[in-house]
Amino acid sequence: MFYRENGQFKTTYRADQQIFPILQDRMAITALLLVGFALVPMLASDYLFRAILIPFLIFSLAAVGVNILVGFCGQISLGSGAFMAVGAYAAYNFFVRIEGMPLLLALLLGGVSSMLFGMVFGLPSLRVKGLYLAVATLAAQFFADWMFLRVQWFTNNSPSGSVSVSNLQVFGLSLESPLAKYIFCLSLLVVIALLAKNLVRGAVGREWMAIRDMDVAAAVIGIRPMYAKLSAFAVSSFIVGVAGALWGFIYLGAWEPAAFSVDQSFRLLFMVIIGGMGSIMGSFFGAAFIVVLPIFLSQFLPALAGLFGVEISTAVVSHAELMVFGGLIVWFLIVEPHGLAKLWSIGKQKLRLWPFPH
């Protein structure tokens, strides 16, 4: 009843090709942005910002990046953690070594460094694909793990191997309070997600999808595989790199290489699978899911066990978390390979026709 396009006539190509062609979608997005920028800051507590909202925003950004590579271009990557690490450490080096380096520029330069790193490790994708490529990206992961642990130069010769940043400012505004951090991450996320959305619905995005669906056929109809794959690696690792820099700078504040281990790579891949491969929106769903699920389980499982009079240790909760993650991955792959985003769009489709099923 509320989600119908009746009467929304498009008289120009511009109107037909906009990002959200349906009025209700535009309204929903505007409302969502208003909630994000105005309502949430008024209502949320510091705990909510720190434990859920900020990680959610940063993971969403990273998931958008991974989704571009895995979901849109079909190049499976197990090295996203490495791209995050490169973004974080490069941004750190730019920030610390260059006097008066603005934070925003350092973050973006971190992204650019990650982009170059990603392109180097994306080179094998021109020769191999699928399973072999997954292993090739693991090489990036292990190489980065080692590099930031052993090569002192990257950590500015810090003796403990961990690095930290402080006194973060953007345009003269301090980024110390959780609220300021939240607004900063949200702004960055909105801008980058919008750019990514536009990219994937444009010519470049279509090339990526053609490569994903069948690369040989795509090459036959005149798409250059090298250009398409490397551009996907570049864009993806840029976004993931910025997310990594945010993770280090904004969320952690002080970090060591273990913060970007292979587990982080897997977690990002899970976000993409659960959220929806090949959907920018899905990245947000996936990130929300992966951030909230452990918190939910750690609250819910002891409560559930308490009903039966059983004590549950944190170890059991963490094992249960692994099992739930694993089970969900398999379940989604079997039942709904396009993830939560697909469920969302099915819901919208039903609403469009409601109350008539056909």
Binding site: G74, I76, L123, P124, R127, V128, G130, L131, Y132, A134, V135, A136, L138, A139, F142, F143, D145, W146, L149, R150, V151, M214, D215, V216, A217, V220, V262, F266, L269, F270, I273, A315, V316, H319, A320, E321, L322, M323, V324, F325, G326, G327, L328, I329, V330, L333, I334, P337
Partner: protein, 309 residues
């Protein structure tokens, strides 16, 4: 010279163990086209099962003889791996027939997480030890031909022999038995094999069982070397470049690849490591495999990849 040979031999023996894990990957990929990322989790799961059974059997059944207890524990863990294989086929693979390789890879990632969680919640997550009575003292050989002789770890030596025996056994199984022939037929062409009456589902269970047993043997050897703990899963990650180097579809490739990686890792660590800060074992194998991929994407013994539209 003696030191070089010592490193080389150490590398070869470590490589044999990598081949063992790599073999698990190759077996499953050959027969079902699934790149089984869960091999590491299976190694951990099997080793955990065996370590705990070996503890429980003397406790509850009153069998005090350590050899008998170990054998029983091995059999018990083997049965557990059979059940695991059956469940995986039933619940996961059967629903993902004809899906793309990457989807299957991600499904095995899910299985990995599930098994890691399940294994640790059933068997506990501390460090356990498997004691199969392998001598641990090093021996000197060839003292006459080299100054100082060559130091060899006996444990590594026996482990390498067990691994080699298993590989030989599997080769015979694949080449000489009817089931082995059926497995190879399925590997060549699913549909053709099915059309001449080879039951695909049963073959998959068998393959995953064999891979489970391989994981058990690998877990047993690595477990008695390093102790059974979570880090065993990373052994499988170390074995991945082996598969890439040797080719995903080739059993000899897994062995030769394992030896090359084992030797390469040790030599690079000893001769290259000091210049770049050490610890390069972690990524050296990967970069080696990566460089190799650029030259020969299908691996040493892999089949040529032909693309068709």
């Amino acid at each position: 010279m003696a030191f070089f040979l010592e490193t080389l031999l150490g590398g070869l023996m470590a490589g044999m163990l990598y081949s063992l894990v790599a073999l698990g990957f190759v077996l499953i990929y050959k027969a079902s086209g699934v790149f089984n990322f869960a091999q590491g989790a299976m190694v951990l799961f099997a080793a955990l099962a065996m370590a705990r059974f070996a503890e429980w059997i003397p406790l509850h059944l009153g069998i005090a003889n350590p050899i008998a207890a170990n054998v029983l524990a091995f059999i018990g863990a083997g049965i557990v791996m059979f059940v695991v294989a059956w469940v995986i086929e039933r619940l996961v693979l059967r629903h993902l027939v004809n899906q793309e390789g990457t989807t299957l890879l991600m499904a095995t990632l899910g299985i990995t997480y599930f098994m890691e969680g399940l294994g640790q919640s059933i068997f506990g997550s501390s460090i356990y030890k498997i004691d199969i009575g392998m001598p641990k003292d090093p021996v000197m050989i060839l003292e006459s031909s080299f100054e100082g002789g060559i130091l060899i770890n006996k444990e590594d030596f026996y482990a390498a022999i067990i691994a080699a025996a298993l590989v030989a056994l599997l080769s015979v199984f694949f080449q000489k038995t009817a089931t082995g022939r059926a497995l190879r037929a399925v590997a060549d062409d699913h549909q053709a094999a099915q059309s001449i009456g080879i039951p695909l589902n049963r073959i998959w269970v068998i393959v995953w069982c064999v891979a489970g047993v391989v994981a058990l043997v690998a877990g047993m050897i690595w477990g008695s070397k390093l102790g059974v703990q979570f880090s065993l899963t990373t052994v499988a990650l170390r074995a991945l470049p082996v598969v890439i180097l040797g080719g995903l579809t080739s059993v000899p490739g897994a062995i030769v690849g394992g030896l090359i990686i084992g030797v390469g890792e040790k030599l690079s660590e000893v001769y290259l490591g000091p210049y770049v800060g050490g610890g390069i074992e972690i990524w050296f194998a990967y970069v080696l495999a990566l460089g190799f991929l650029l030259i020969r994407p299908q691996g040493l013994f892999g089949e040529k990849i032909i693309d068709r539209v």
